[in-house]
């Protein structure tokens, strides 16, 4: 093999840029590690039983927990899922099965627009739509705000996943005399199930950490509340409230809450990635 005729300068440039890209990538990965390390370091010590079972103590008293915020988050997310997921899946079915027309284009475009709307603006709108007519902050309003944010993500993933189902499968169903609606529900949707669940869970994980839309809707609450019609605490809101106070004990709790939120979200996304994604790609491709 002849010796490569590459000048030293070119060779060095190549090494330089390879090194640069590699080291910048290392910087990014290290940032991630730093964030997680701090979360675990500062949060793990405070993530104890009382944190999970107690409500916040008044300023100055050490201890207390975020149990009410945890329950509140679950309630708000439940309401959001209840409204957001059916609407999103329905819109996704429309786009995949009937959407090859002007309206489909418009809906696709609109849902991309909706996906890019800043979450704080969604909060403002939910305030105007739900809080003002009801005349009080409520878990319901928070759920509506988050539902709005879930719809476009769920719709677009549902559409993508349904389109991955081979057309022959639909044709086979029609050939057996199965009506279209039944085909869609029992065959197409069932085939794409893993992918759609992935999309739903990713949308869920995305809104689970949202704070801005809850500020003017769920509002936060220092006490227990199980009513959808009352202001309610939420984990991200509580983290924010505690973080911006000057009290060390509250900072400690904010870290614990943050750790918990990250475990929840990263747990969801990782689960989705390793369980459903594999099955979906294995099944549909």
């Amino acid at each position: 093999m002849p010796k490569r005729q590459i000048s030293l300068h070119r060779q060095m440039t190549d090494y330089f840029f390879t090194g640069l890209a590699a080291s910048l990538s290392v910087v990014v990965v290290c940032t991630l590690i730093a964030i997680f390390a701090y979360l675990v370091l500062k949060g793990a010590g405070s993530l104890n039983w009382s944190f999970l079972t107690q409500t916040p103590k008044p300023v100055g008293e050490i201890g207390g927990g975020m149990a009410n915020a945890l329950v509140g988050s679950i309630m708000i997310l439940g309401i959001a899922t209840l409204f957001g997921v059916p609407a999103g899946i329905g819109a996704g079915i429309y786009l995949a099965e009937y959407g090859r027309n002007r309206l489909g284009q418009l809906v696709r475009f609109t849902s991309d627009v909706l996906n890019g709307v800043p979450s704080i603006v969604i909060g403002l709108v939910a305030y105007g739509l739900v809080v003002i007519p009801q005349r009080h902050f409520s878990a319901f309003a928070g759920g509506v705000a988050l539902a709005i944010m879930m719809v476009p993500t769920v719709a677009r993933t549902t559409e993508e996943m349904l389109l991955l189902v081979p057309h022959a499968v639909r044709e086979a169903a029609f050939g057996l005399g199965i009506p279209q609606w039944r085909t869609t529900i029992s065959i197409t949707l069932a085939t794409a199930r893993a992918g759609i669940i992935t999309g739903v869970m990713l949308a869920f994980a995305r809104v689970a950490g949202e704070t801005a839309p809850l500020m003017f809707t769920a509002f936060g609450n220092q006490f227990w509340s199980y009513s959808a019609r009352e202001p309610i605490a939420a984990l991200p809101l509580q983290i924010f409230t505690y973080a911006i106070t000057p009290y060390d004990d509250w900072h400690r709790q904010a870290w614990a809450g943050a750790l918990m939120l990250v475990i929840l979200i990263v747990g969801t996304t990782t689960l989705v990635r390793f369980v459903f994604m594999r099955r979906m790609l294995g099944g549909a491709r």
Binding site: V29, G116, V117, R182, G209
Partner: protein
């Protein structure tokens, strides 16, 4: 699913009639075959009708769900326009050029917030773009195969962390680092630029820019990766065959082809940065002033809404905040559409590929 509510119409038996023999109970005996044929024709007709009704009902239901998406955006626009009407009537276009923000006396101008949003996003882009593009290039073109997945997974994890946690981390980890080491260093060596004046608070435009940068790296790098992947393989091979080194191949065959898409990715990152609320609110200092120094505290459009909306006492104040929200909405939409078009010019015509 709403359509599951109407399962009582006997479509199941109807479907069986259409495909095969009828249920044994009503199996036609030879002598009654004529009657049965008439019956079955009628039944088939009824069955057809019920299917058509169900089918159009199902389609209608799904259409309603699709219209919900349109409705939501319509409601957002209506709500923002209606809510901001008061401020718009009072200040008109001047609202966006006034720099006074005084809820007590009722003078509102959004310029400091627009300035803060733009500057913090630009700082973020300045930091994030080289990092994100480097990660994308490294992952798609350079790094050994076993490292690809972990690195792209790590950048995706960055995207999964909620804004408020970035804020928390920035407040207690990033800001002290900036205050104690980075900012004094910048003041010492880059004071001549005039961008790094004044006391090092830690919190301020720079801190907001850095945390925003961390937050937008994942989106820029994942979209850049997508557009790099769709650059045709023969193009790379041609460059290498002509004797290019790997970097020359990347520069001439890959980056040049993907530049519109990379630009789109950057703009998409900008769109994300403009609307980011919590993390920025926690570290920018929340001071409605226009300062030349990046070390000075600022304020952004999103954070003024977050901070003041619940405490707004006058209708005018609330309306002014909603008008800022409307402006934010319009700007992010324009930015996102622009970015989408630019990414599309690169990836169009190629089937979506999963990146290995």
């Amino acid at each position: 699913m709403g359509a599951a509510r109407e399962p009582h119409i006997p479509e199941r038996s109807a479907a069986r009639q259409a495909t095969g023999p009828r249920t044994p109970k009503s199996m036609p005996s030879p002598e009654s075959s004529k009657v049965s044929l008439v019956n079955s024709t009628r039944e088939v007709r009824a069955w057809k009708k019920s299917i058509l009704t169900l089918d159009s009902g199902f389609k209608g239901l799904m259409t309603v769900a699709a219209l919900v998406v349109l409705g939501i955006v319509g409601l957002i626009v209506a709500e923002l326009v209606q809510g901001s009407a008061l401020a718009w009537q009072k200040f008109g276009l001047h609202f966006f050029f006034g720099s006074e923000w005084d809820p007590v006396s009722g003078g509102f101008g959004a310029l400091p917030f627009i300035f803060g949003t733009v500057v913090s996003s630009l700082v973020a882009l300045f930091i994030a773009v080289p990092l994100a593009v480097a990660v994308a290039v490294f992952v798609t073109e350079m790094c050994p195969r076993p490292l690809r997945k972990p690195i792209s997974y790590a950048t995706e994890l960055l995207a999964a962390i909620p804004s408020v946690i970035y804020g928390l981390w920035a407040m207690f980890v990033l800001v002290p680092i900036l205050r104690l080491s980075v900012e004094p260093w910048l003041m010492k060596y880059f004071a001549w630029t005039g961008l790094f004046d004044g006391p090092a608070y830690g919190i301020g435009m720079l801190a907001a820019g850095v945390v925003l940068a961390i937050m937008i790296i994942p989106i820029i790098s994942s979209i850049t990766r997508e557009v790099l992947i769709v650059v045709p393989q023969p193009q790379r091979e041609a460059a290498l065959a002509l004797g290019a080194t790997r970097w020359e191949m990347i520069r001439m065959a890959v980056l040049r082809n993907a530049r519109a898409g990379i630009m789109g990715a950057v703009i998409l990152g900008l769109g994300r940065g403009l609307g980011e609320t919590m993390a920025v609110t926690m570290v920018i200092g929340n001071n409605p002033a226009i300062a030349k120094s990046l070390l000075a505290p600022g304020y952004t459009m999103a954070s003024v809404i977050a901070n003041e909306f619940n405490e707004a006492t006058s209708d005018l104040h609330r309306s002014a905040l909603i008008e800022i929200g409307l402006a934010l909405f319009i700007v992010t939409i324009i930015v996102n559409i622009l970015a989408g078009l630019m990414v599309w010019t690169v990836t169009r015509g190629t089937p979506a590929r999963t990146n290995a």
